[in-house]
């Protein structure tokens, strides 16, 4: 008993787990929110602004205090806040001041999407819950601007290392369990229905006009018996066996890849891309961290020519700004200090 307790305490306190997987989740969640907000930017007034008075009765019964931030504000203020949330999402993706970006993104995301509960989706819930748990975690240990900043000598952390590590692992436990429960609940609900067992459950969905952005693709998948059964069972297997497959590294990685593929595929087929992206972002938590690290190296290799040029251009720009600062800004400032203030 005490040995297993020691193992649990060791897992919780000795090192932060899944740092690459969580960095990937941070990027994925940020992109899902960013995609949603950018896609709806043009229609923001009808969705959550002045012209959303038609949705006010559902807003009135919402229990989110954050929606008061935007309730009844002018179009200009909505735009300012909306853009601020977009910028918070960008900062979150880049891992720049990640914790502050996390807080802003959580509050801003609820404030915006909460204005119109009628048009919220299940993935809004998932994103909100992920952002909540992420408050406890260290999401920017790798693949972030913060990682570079905090590695510099002299940088200090407000929270002691042991507490950061403990909170990180508690948050990982909470979010991981939440995602596993989502898969378990979805899989069990589906397998109880005969149409999922028979491999025909998605016929109706693929025939509905609202879920047919590419009608030829939907017909290709739903009209033939074999394609329909394959995609239906792929969904069922990826959800029903997700939790049991977590016990073994090989099966875990396999089911994660399957679930990610299924979600992205149906995100495109059904026209629910950003919702699918949100699910993919948190599903990736379960992929082994060393695989994420390898993937990171592979991406870095592929993108090196571009990123190197960007870094070089950035240094060149920084040099020019510095030259300009020393040549044109500091001399008059020094002159004013020396002559006017005599300091």
């Amino acid at each position: 008993m005490s040995e297993s307790r020691g193992e649990v305490v060791g897992w919780l306190t000795q090192s932060r787990h899944a740092v690459h997987a969580l960095a990937a989740a941070r990027i994925g969640v940020g992109l899902a929110v960013l995609g949603l907000l950018v896609t709806n930017f043009g229609n923001r007034q009808a969705w959550v602004g002045d012209a959303s008075l038609w949705a006010e009765p559902t807003r009135a019964v919402s229990r989110f205090p954050e929606i008061a931030l935007l309730d009844g504000v002018s179009a200009d203020i909505l735009t300012v806040v909306y853009v601020a949330v977009i910028l918070a999402a960008v900062a979150f993706v880049l891992g720049w001041r990640t914790k502050a970006a996390n807080v802003l993104l959580l509050v801003g995301f609820i404030a915006v999407t909460g204005q119109n509960p009628l048009l919220s989706t299940a993935s809004d819930n998932l994103l909100r819950i992920a952002l909540l748990w992420m408050l406890l975690m260290r999401l920017a240990d790798v693949w972030s601007l913060d990682a570079a900043r905090l590695e510099r000598p002299g940088s200090e952390q407000a929270v002691p290392e042991w507490l950061r590590t403990g909170l990180h692992n508690v948050g990982l436990l909470g979010l991981g369990t939440q995602v596993a429960l989502a898969y378990l609940a979805a899989g069990l609900a589906k397998v109880a229905q005969p149409q999922w067992q028979q491999g025909t459950a998605l016929f109706g969905t693929l025939q509905l006009p609202e879920y047919r952005p590419f009608p030829w693709l939907s017909d290709l998948l739903s009209v033939g018996t074999v394609p329909l059964a394959l995609v239906t069972w792929a969904v069922l297997v990826s959800q029903l066996f997700f939790v049991p497959a977590l016990v073994n590294r090989t099966t875990r990685n396999t089911v994660v890849v399957l679930a990610v593929a299924v979600n992205l595929f149906f995100g495109i087929v059904l026209g629910t891309l950003w919702s699918a992206f949100a699910v993919v972002a948190v599903t990736g938590l379960f992929l082994s961290d060393d695989l994420w690290e390898d993937l990171g190296y592979a991406v870095a290799d592929v993108t090196a020519p571009v990123t190197d040029r960007i870094v070089d251009a950035w240094y060149a720009l920084a040099d020019r700004v510095e030259d300009w600062w020393f040549r044109f800004v500091l001399p008059p400032v020094d002159w004013v200090r020396a002559t006017v203030f005599r300091r």
């Binding site: 240990d141 508690v170 006009p209 952005p213 190296y297």
Partner: protein, 301 residues
């Protein structure tokens, strides 16, 4: 979630970097460049002079009150997860013992979720929202317009678009919700809803439904939806029509995807909608800026 540490990382936690403070920018730049290069060439990267392994905590953190605190927080996370599991569980004795109302109170609003959070789900009902208006064509004449199919207009924006905007689903969501309520209202309730209420927004309907013995919570749900649909129809009619809108009416349609065996003969688009039509409502007055913003969405300016 996984518990592997990086087996390829040979760095010793004891080999922490020194306290040397480097303020020289060129040296700092060099360090950043080294980090960038090491990210692209892991095999050649220096492994020992950098920071300890990412996320490493000194061993003493697993001792004493600190460990107890972290363990307590982890226990809270586990208890929370059990509550979420009960909330997501199907109706049954275990869930009943926990108390569905208590579970919902805990979960709402921040952890609100449902079993169908993961797409895709099996669906087979196509829904429609249509509106029409009575418009003042001159001082003495009011004319009725034809029905405007709002959902059909929305479908055009969904074509070849894997990430449509949310407003393109608004009419369908309203129709879905109202269809559900209309079925629950029963024949008597639907007769009340279908009657004209041109002398007051919704109030007479609510009273009529109460007289029919409809559950007060259902009346409240209908009233909310009726208010939303009347406002939506008013805004949409004004955005679509040139003459002043006096009254609006809406109806919601529903048709079911035919069985798969009949797919060669009939598709859902070939079927007529089964319709629920409500009575005429006075057009809701809105501020000019609200209408202008709604016009932007409808007309796509």
């Amino acid at each position: 979630m996984n518990d592997e540490t990086d087996p390829r990382d040979p760095r010793d936690p004891a080999e922490t970097p020194g306290d040397a403070v480097d303020t020289d920018r060129s040296v700092a730049e060099h360090e950043v460049r080294v980090r960038t290069e090491s990210a692209t060439a892991p095999d050649d990267a220096p492994q020992t002079e950098a920071a300890p392994p990412v996320g490493h905590t000194p061993p003493d953190a697993s001792q004493g009150w600190r460990a107890v605190l972290i363990l307590a927080l982890a226990t809270v996370a586990v208890i929370h997860s059990v509550v979420i599991a009960l909330f997501l569980a199907p109706d049954g004795p275990v869930r009943d013992a926990a108390g569905p109302t208590r579970l919902a109170f805990y979960v709402n609003p921040y952890f609100q979720q449902s079993w169908d959070v993961l797409e895709p789900s099996a669906q087979r009902v196509d829904e429609s929202l249509q509106i029409r208006a009575r418009v003042q064509v001159d001082e003495e004449t009011v004319e009725e317009t034809g029905w405007i199919d709002v959902t059909a207009a929305d479908l055009r924006t969904l074509r070849r678009n894997a990430a449509p905007d949310r407003m393109s689903t608004a009419a369908r969501r309203l129709a879905t919700n109202l269809n559900g309520v209309m079925f629950e209202l029963g024949i008597g309730g639907r007769a009340v809803v279908g009657a004209s209420t041109t002398d007051g927004e919704g109030n007479r309907v609510a009273a009529g439904l109460a007289d029919e013995g409809v559950d007060p919570q259902l009346v409240a749900r209908f009233t909310r939806l009726d208010t939303m649909l009347t406002r939506f129809a008013s805004l949409y009619a004004r955005a679509s029509l040139d003459d002043p809108v006096v009254e609006v009416q809406y109806r919601v349609g529903r048709r079911v995807v035919p069985p798969r065996e009949d797919r060669d003969d009939v598709r859902v688009g070939d079927l007529e909608f089964g319709l629920f039509t409500v009575g005429w409502r006075p057009a809701v007055t809105t501020q000019e800026r609200e209408q202008r913003a709604f016009d932007t969405w409808v007309k796509g300016d």
